[in-house]
């Protein structure tokens, strides 16, 4: 019982306590500093705002747009990131030749490119997909590149001593060794993809939750602004947990999964 309390229930209890504390501090700040409701609305007003926003016409359309942009962008990033990461990881000279480009592309504040993408791809969904894909691409590609390089020499020796062919070495060894890195990239990538699509929506177009934030801001509707932020957080959390769930299913043997299990059981 005590173990159960300490292990499985603890995170839930602590999360609840933290949430309650946040709400208390939130209310205190409003009372003590006499904050205007346009700057920081009451928590219960935000809750009411969430209900209102959800009931608004076209709300689910906005959610769907943001989700589609994020997921399609993420999907493209995943395919391209894994492919390019695998190629660069295996062909050393190509990686060396492209290293300056890769470093440069990492250093560029990619959010600064977003207006450019809107100019190139228009105000519709396409530009946001491209932005989400670009932001998610780099962490995935770099992790896969690292993963392909990180196959243990000892494991390679085993396959070599068993006279395994290229294909067998890929399926039995390289694929499994690289998967944890793919997931490490995906965990960062999915969060970046949401950032990409929302920021893209700030800057252009008339669809998506990012657009809804801009509209709320222009209308000085702080309740709705906060409500959309909370909804975006929930969506982000959902997508992140989906990636974690997939990871637990695909690589149950890996330390990052086993470690988490041991901590919670």
């Amino acid at each position: 019982m005590r173990d159960l309390l300490r292990g499985r229930l603890l995170p839930w209890i602590s999360t609840l306590i933290v949430l309650v504390l946040v709400v208390i501090v939130w209310k205190l700040i409003i009372v003590v500093f006499d904050v205007s409701e346009f700057v920081l609305p009451q928590p219960e007003d935000v809750a009411a705002g969430i209900v209102d926003v959800v009931k608004t016409d076209g709300f689910w359309g906005h959610v769907r747009t943001t989700l589609v942009e994020t997921l399609v962008g993420f999907g493209i990033a995943l395919v391209l990131g894994v492919a390019l990461g695998a190629v660069l990881g295996r062909i050393a000279w190509l990686e060396r030749a492209l290293r300056p480009v890769i470093v440069a592309s990492q250093v560029v504040p990619k959010v600064a490119l977003i207006p450019l993408f809107i100019v190139w791809f228009g105000f519709g969904v396409t530009s946001k997909i491209v932005i989400a894909a670009m932001l998610a691409f780099f962490p995935i590609m770099l992790n896969v590149l690292l993963g392909v390089r990180s196959v243990e020499t000892g494991h390679r020796d085993v396959m070599r001593s068993l006279n395994a062919g290229k294909w067998a070495t890929f399926w039995r060894l390289e694929y499994h060794s690289t998967l944890p890195y793919v997931f490490a990239g995906m965990e960062i990538g999915i969060v970046f993809a949401i950032i990409g699509s929302v920021v893209g929506e700030y800057l252009g177009g008339n669809q998506g939750l990012g657009y809804l934030i801009v509209v709320s801001l222009n209308a000085l509707n702080a309740e709705q602004l906060f409500a959309v932020i909370v909804i975006l957080t929930l969506i982000g959390l959902g997508l992140f947990l989906a990636v974690i769930g997939l990871k637990r299913f695909m690589i149950p043997w890996h330390e990052s999964v086993v470690g988490a299990d041991q901590a919670s059981s």
Binding site: E152, G154, H155, R160, L162, R172, L173, E255
Partner: protein, 285 residues
């Protein structure tokens, strides 16, 4: 023997690496290995000729960097010798750039690290070589069960490597190397990372396994006691460049029990080898 072989023995004149049985199941024939580095090259092995008889247990020892691991890796086909040839049953391991599949299939290799695949269960790890050979699943399973029993891991077939102790992991690695019934077992300090007690136990088990599988064993270690306990012959390599320093036959009947280690002749052999090793270290600090 070939001409190079005769020259090699003449040049060194003291050390005779030929199998006493006169049966040359495994042959190192004038093997030289030179590693090319950015600044010049290192001679890891210089003109080593050694043969191993069928079902013989040969142990290679020497100070670190003497080329014993290189020698084993050359025999395993992981490294190609710069000069000379390695033959298994008269068949050369290398044909130009390619390795001979048939000769390679006779070799089973156990490393210092178990090198198990963490994504596979014990059973899948043991059966990996069979899977690569396209053996049917039911057959693989049966063989894996048989082998886990042989190495004393019955009941752990479904476990994953991370759930096992160091000694158990090494047992899995041994079982894996035995799965396709190789005639030759090559072991590179397989028990080096284990504590003394487990190591003694594994050495006893290894003799039993070698007996049961009728395997020829080439074993690398840096422990003189382990070498004398296990080997029919102990081959001492001297360092920089690696070459045969001495070959010492050990007369005790196999399988041996731990109490042979207390006998005077065991102690004498160990002392003699230690003396040689120290001499070698003085020359090559």
């Amino acid at each position: 023997m070939s001409a190079t072989r005769v020259q090699a023995t003449e040049a060194e004149s003291v050390v005779d690496g030929r199998a006493p049985s006169g049966d040359h199941f495994i042959e190192f024939d004038g093997v030289t290995k030179r590693y090319q580095a950015r600044h010049g090259s290192t001679l890891a092995l210089s003109d080593v000729s050694l043969s191993v008889g069928r079902r013989e247990f040969v142990v290679l020892i020497g100070q670190s960097g003497c080329g014993k691991t290189t020698m084993l890796r050359i025999l395993a086909g992981l490294i190609r010798p710069t000069e000379g040839e390695v033959r298994v049953e008269g068949q050369s391991l290398w044909r130009g750039e390619r390795r001979d599949d048939e000769a390679l299939a006779k070799l089973g290799l156990v490393f210092q690290d178990p090198n198990l695949f963490p994504w596979y269960s014990v059973e899948e790890n043991i059966a990996l070589p069979l899977r690569l050979r396209g053996v049917r699943k039911s057959e693989r399973r049966e063989r894996a069960r048989e082998l886990s029993e042989l190495v004393g891991l019955s009941g752990f077939e479904e476990s994953y490597p991370r759930e096992l102790s160091g000694g158990m992991r090494q047992r899995v690695a041994i079982a894996r190397s035995l799965s396709y019934r190789p005639e030759i077992l090559l072991m590179d300090e397989p028990f080096g990372a284990l504590d003394a007690l487990t190591r003694d136990k594994m050495n006893l088990e290894l003799q039993r396994i070698a007996e049961a599988t009728k395997a020829t064993v080439v074993f690398v270690t840096h422990s003189i006691t382990e070498a004398v306990f296990l080997g029919d012959r102990v081959v001492l390599l001297s360092a920089r460049p690696g070459r045969l320093r001495s070959v010492t036959p050990v007369q005790f009947e196999r399988p041996r029990e731990l109490d042979v280690e207390t006998s005077p002749s065991f102690a004498e052999t160990v002392r003699e080898l230690r003396h040689q090793l120290e001499e070698d270290e003085e020359k090559n600090p």
